[in-house]
């Protein structure tokens, strides 16, 4: 089984098709990260595609000291940042300052008893309530299971910022989750559920 380094070497020797491996392996997470920050599917997809093309063009510059995924997600995050900067006035809820915390604070273990599809929708909605930065941290830490050091490399944030950010993001996520869950319950009872 070839390693990622082997595949990179093959690509650098002109075997372009070998690059497909990286696309297949990282497109979903890259897209998820981009979606978390941009929240527009077509834009996020374009950004990820641009990130892959940039990765391909600059593959020679990849020193192979870190994981390819870390290097590549850095490109994705940078692309998303560039987009956010360019469209600052047009996109809502882009940064922490624009985010209003949900007023509900109680955790709701009953969430776990819901149907899988309902859980998914509620978590999704809760994630939407987070700022792009919080979204990114939550997804990298929980979803992609990146450690603090890797998140540091991908985002460029300091370790303490990541820890604080993660703590705040986690709290907000739970609160948003509770609010989403309560809203879901109200809607269900209204329709006789």
């Amino acid at each position: 089984m070839p390693t990622e380094i082997d595949i990179i070497k093959r690509v650098l020797h002109g075997k372009v098709d070998a690059f497909r491996y990286f696309i297949d392996t990282y497109k979903d997470m890259a897209f998820t990260l981009a979606m978390g920050m941009i929240q527009d599917e077509s834009i996020a997809e374009d950004l990820v595609q641009t990130a892959f093309i940039k990765a391909f063009k600059n593959l020679k510059q990849f020193k192979m000291k870190s994981k390819f995924s870390t290097w590549f997600y850095t490109i994705v995050v940078n692309e998303a940042r560039i987009h956010l900067r360019k469209n600052k006035g047009n996109v809502q809820r882009l940064d922490d300052e624009n985010y209003h915390e949900p007023e509900l604070h109680e955790e709701n273990p009953a969430l776990l008893n819901l149907h899988r599809s309902d859980q998914k929708r509620i978590i999704n909605n809760a994630l939407h309530r987070l700022s792009p930065r919080e979204n990114l941290l939550i997804r990298l830490y929980y979803q992609n299971e990146n450690g603090i050091e890797e998140i540091q490399k991908i985002t460029g944030f300091s370790a303490s910022n990541i820890k604080t950010g993660l703590h705040r993001a986690r709290q907000k996520f739970y609160r948003a989750l509770t609010k989403e869950y309560k809203g879901e319950m109200t809607a269900l009872s209204f329709f006789g559920g």
Partner: protein
Amino acid sequence: MENEIKRLLKDDLLKLPSEDFTAKTMQKIRVIQDSHKVKRRISRWFIVSPLAAAAALALFLIFFWPAGTPGTVSWADVQRQLEQVHTMTARFCHEFKAPNGKWRNEYRKIYIKDPGLSRIDWCDTGADLNTLKSGPITVLKDESGIHERLWLNPYSHLAEWIIRKGRTVDMPPVVLLPGDSTQMDNNYALGLWDQLKQITAAVRTKRIGKRIINGKPAVGFGFEVPVFQPIYKESTCGKIWVGRDDGVPLLIELDYKDYLGKKVQRLEWSHIQWNIPLEEKLFDFTVPEGWSLKRDQENESIEYTGFGFKPGVTLEIGPEGQEPFVTAADIAGVVKAERTTYLFPKDTQLRGLITIELMPAAANRLSAYSAAHPDKIIVVNFNGQKKVAAKLDAAHPTQVSFDITLIHITSNIWHFNYITPLTKRNK
């Protein structure tokens, strides 16, 4: 719960791009790779086979250069061409803001012949480039530090001849057309020409591209020339388009801006022809018959107090053919000397007038005779040179003036040869 959410996020909440995402991305990557391959191949080819590369480059230039093979003309070539220019004709366009705020173009035909001859045919105001109908003409000559300008206005049949010390470009503005409020300096055309010839090879220029001008392939140079107008930016950017093969200027454009960077005016020389034979009659200073001629004049006036004629200067005043009533001994002093000449040169005296103060008895004799014989002319015989009419001044009955216009002497000569302080004379 955290672990459960982690599981949910990881497994189910992964966002998926479109199904053909991988295919689309790979397609783009292959295109990039192919273009890289071509570039690499070309660069390798150029390294391995310089001869083949040179041939390819030549072919490329022949087929893709808009005007055939590129010239190797440099700014120094242009400079050399300018130095070799002896005659030039051009159309000159002046774009400026009229008093009503609208932009207007005015056209002129320019003829220049070294050394120092030039002519501007002013085209009718508002005329377009295709119907250049000449209006007034200005002929200019710079010779030995003397500038001559003849302005011929066919509408009023008025010729204005100005002669000054200095060069054409130092001349003040003249009014373009009667009734036209635009104060246009016809020196613009020539001044710029002068300026252009002064642009040395050391001036920083940059290539600005290539184009076809009047069917001739041309390359452009951008340059900067200083501007000495108060409200203007201190320098203006110009463009000169020269023949690709010979470096001969074909089109010159100059845009003037004010200190705020706002366009003030634009000057353009086009249809330039160099070193073509230009007949002398184009620069003829003859005023057409029947035209009135106006020349710049200057009045000088010297008032004297305590001055008289030098000893030996004779002056007699009396009726024509009779014994004079007044001789030098009857003159109390010289009051005033007035002189009108052309502004330049001043050697042609247009009018000269001397006013003298008579002794009261002599003044009375003269007044009495004049009153008794109003039909008689009283003449002045000044120093035996000319006899001219005396003019009695009613306001100052003791003063008499006489005309010395025909006596061609400068005011200095007049003063030193004939005038002296009375105290000195009486010693």
